[in-house]
Symmetry: D3
Subunit: 248 residues, 6 copies
């Protein structure tokens, strides 16, 4: 179910083992060919498809569209929450639902920059409310290397930023928002010789994109989308039924 469309008595009537799912995205530059809302749009599309399959088992909130995007702020139009404000938003949402009696939560992320704060949010909430079940993952965590290898034809076999994979997803899901003619192959290597260096996007890309966007296609996007939807559907279904730490 979609929270936004329900009335309060309808929420009140729900089984409290329903999994509350929060999608997190961003408004940040995605090169010259993709719109600022790309991450928010993709994670929303994925989760709406999952919700359509699992509507009795999950309760989907609106997408948190203001992400942790400080590394993109050199590009016009990019927005970023503070880490504190971003974390607080998610914490409030979960704690509100906890007060309403829910105890299963999952954060589905569409923007790499949110991964660290999403993890910290889960840990803070677990410390305060040890009885809750909570986890987080990117929708892209459900895309497999096998699929990347099988379908991507550019040099990068994975998902980066405004790259072949992400552009393909947008061409499948929101084709009218893709400036096809603005796509370009940046051919950027993004791993520096020292692991864990923190670079901002304006330090390493002039256009704001990584990878070979000209290789993107709606068909490739459909394959990626379907895999993400399928993976998340299975994961959230498991979570709905109750997971255990088997063998422990």
């Amino acid at each position: 179910m979609k929270l936004a469309e329900l009335t309060w008595p309808e929420v009140d009537a729900l089984d409290r083992s329903t999994v509350v799912v929060i999608a997190t995205g961003s408004i940040e530059q995605h090169g010259a060919h993709l719109p600022l809302a790309t991450d928010s749009l993709l994670v929303t599309s994925v989760m709406e498809a999952v919700e359509a399959r699992l509507s009795e088992k999950i309760l989907l909130t609106p997408t948190v569209w203001l992400g942790a995007s400080g590394h993109h702020l050199a590009f016009a139009g990019s927005l970023s929450a503070s880490f504190e404000g971003y974390e607080d938003s998610l914490i409030q949402i979960v704690e509100n639902f906890h007060a309403h009696g829910f105890h299963k939560f999952y954060i589905v992320n569409g923007h790499g920059g949110n991964t660290e704060p999403n993890g910290i949010v889960c840990r803070k909430l677990k410390s305060r409310h040890p009885e809750i079940v909570i986890g987080h993952s990117g929708y892209f965590a459900f895309l497999t290397q096998a699929t990347y290898d099988a379908i991507l034809t550019g040099s990068i076999k994975g998902i980066r930023h405004a790259c072949e994979a992400e552009t393909s997803l947008m061409m499948h899901l929101h084709p009218h928002l893709v400036r096809l003619e603005k796509r370009r192959d940046d051919g950027l290597e993004v791993d520096p010789p020292v692991p864990g260096m923190v670079f901002f996007f304006d330090e390493c890309t002039e256009a704001g994109s990584f990878g070979d966007a000209t290789h993107a296609s709606a068909n490739k996007g459909k394959v990626l989308f379907d895999e993400a939807v399928e993976g998340l559907t299975q994961a959230l279904s498991s979570l709905s039924h109750g997971i255990s730490l088997q063998g422990r």
Copy 2:
């Protein structure tokens, strides 16, 4: 223009006197007949209509849908930001745009509970950046008493919460989300004998609504909607052209 759909070079090409407009809503109970997202939906609809008229003059962000709704949390499904987190979100958005070179900002609100923090946000930002032009108002501030008196047939001649006016707006804009048969006339007096008392909704209404929702109609909603859109269009147009403190 809608920020979400633009690319960063397109934002970068904008005239920096464009007015950045942020709509603020809520996810909170609206009685048994209106969905939780009512405030967010209404302010978004209003602002999209204004944007359609002023697309060269304003830059509209996505709606901040997590509002300051602590007074509704006793009703299932209601969410509330902390005041700190809510204020921080708006401050970050404005400061990001300020860093991108913009200097005119207007916050359009769809939820009464956001009015005080919206005011404080503007004052904090003005203290830090005295050169910016900033203001805030509810879309409902553009509805006139004359119109309320002329069209509302229930006992309350104004806009409250899930009332005749708000229900009418939803029937005009999002009819499929109104549970018509759940509407009821609460007939509640909401002014206590001492001014300024702070009551929470569960203290004064069982259903979560005020006023005479059965009097609502799509036609009334259209009148209210058009007046709000017209008023905001004029105000934002003025702001775009530059306002002065005339006569001072």
Copy 3:
């Protein structure tokens, strides 16, 4: 009773339905004719008169004299709390009294800039302690338009800042602190064409005052003072006896 003058066993002996009243003011510029403490002095005088009438029913704290006055800081001598610090002060006071067993609270304000944070303070406290009864209002909220219209002879029929009304109150209550010869008629219009714009005082007044201070008189001040005292006396008496949300 005045808290400052009591001993702890005397407070301990009080009926816990006594209304704790906190007056809030400011230290901020009030033009060239009124002292920086004007708001604090006025609200203190009003509340001391109310306390004299209701001494068994209310417990009056010292006046919180450091208000939210960021919009006046361009004028020498003006002070402003941070919003966070200001709110925290009020919250601590209420929570201390709550720990002492009191549960009725009312904040009486003497400075318009405190209105928004006073409201937020009440809402935060109500969220944490739903059982308390709390409200806030300016002393000026008890002044009626009828009175303004009847006695004010300048162009502004209301209370602004260092204006005819405020100057009159000071001439009635603290005449030795009014620099009569420095009064001036600013004749400023303060409503911009767009509602809700946030201006700082140095943007719209050179002297720091609004309105026609030369029209002020001690007699007018007495009328305004008596009306505020009478209104607050009735309101706090009602609160002391217990208010209900009648008809709900």
Copy 4:
């Protein structure tokens, strides 16, 4: 000069080497014989006497009456700021004056519990604004052991809390607020065998007072008062003229 009574143009006309002096007190239990405001009343009286002697050299703010009194909260009517809020208030006041062009600051304290946060406030401000001259001290730091030994007849030769010295000061300055018949000799030893233990008042005194209040007299109070006023007058006069770290 007293800030509260000045207008902004009068402050603006001041020599910026004027020393801004902030007095800090408390509202906290002082046994059954002294009022809750004792600390605030005493430091205010001392500073008003100093200001009368040095009116051209210092600018005295209103007394910060909400102190750090968590250790007294078990006694009804006692109030305490949070440490954060207390520090923030002082920091804002100093930073406001710094923005107005002043650069010499001195905090005069009337409540032992404020000593630590006053020190931290000075250090935080000095870190942010290395060019300012700032210090803090209790008015009681100007009372000498020689005087205590010469005039106090009870068992404690110093100033504690609601003790012979403090009661004497109140009998000299605010005799109508002293409940003479409620004074008692607590005869409490307050030093535990391990240095630095932090005890709260309800752990070690039933009445809230230390020492031999029945020995107090207005005459003793006058001696103590005069010594504090004289010491502070000299110190602030030195500060006004400029101090150096001689011999360094």
Copy 5:
């Protein structure tokens, strides 16, 4: 060089391109056979060995031993910083060095729970000081799967918590602190069927350890240690010489 042992003129004489290295550990349960300081001891030993090789190129701070260990707090003796406090400590250290003129920073981590906040620290610092070069990594990130596969004989081919690898490192570096007879093979599977679930250690292990500690040996520890030291030496040497985002 080791910061702790230098005098300030010696630090002042350093080349400002020296890499400031901060090691981060924890005090948290490591099963019944390893001491609470295990993570801090290991990362310190690794970094001291690296410092011995690169003493002219890096400046090593004392180890930050209070980590983000909320997930271990159910076990006696475990300590955890708040995320805010932990991040603040690292931020202050880097900003202090930045004020001293240094601009290259690397955080070497010994505790998995610190990885997310270390990343956020780097991003916050980079946002405030875009000109700095900063990165972070676990010492364990320099251990290769090939090595794990070659030397580990238990069921887990990697490093977990108080496992074969970590116990081996302790047996090599701090043998007197290993309670050999308390080692046990927990045989725990730690991956739940849903990715990204956040579990606390008391939810999934009674003893606090994962893996097959009885397989541990000092020889295995030496191999792992040498690989980590070698990897970090190369990485920090590269960083000292200056890294670029080649090919971009």
Copy 6:
């Protein structure tokens, strides 16, 4: 016992009346002759000696080496926590142990700049957990004036900063870290004519040291060390057995 070396079951087996002792130091300039870690080294040495005598009665944490040293930051290599971060670290440590069932705490300080925040930490903790027993003191508080007078031959009969006393302690405990030839007699008077002025070290000493370091000797250091160890041993032993507010 030393916390760092224990396993969690060993901590779990402890008597909960064991006194948890936290040592606090700094990394800050100590003139040209002493290392930056001087304060941390000294307090650690003192406490390790005390722990050796009282190992069954106290549980010693690692030394908190990042102190409140903002007043030294003008000298290269000096580090300082924020006050907030410093306080938070200590509060977390105590609250973690409180959750583990311990209730007696003592903070032993090696750096004067930590004294105020250590006091505030104790008061905050006592407010939150009134049942705990907590105190704080510098190791130097156990050094007596009689001893200073008897053994110090320089002009300052007490402990200052990188002075005769502190240098002597280092020569006794860590002779290899003392640059003997860099010692110098600064002959600085450190008390300004106005009490309580807050000066930073770069305002009053070029070298960073106070006093007559050339008078220092290992023998003097041994006397001071033994007195501190003896005093703390007695104090912590008393605390372990239970102190009362006798005679009250």
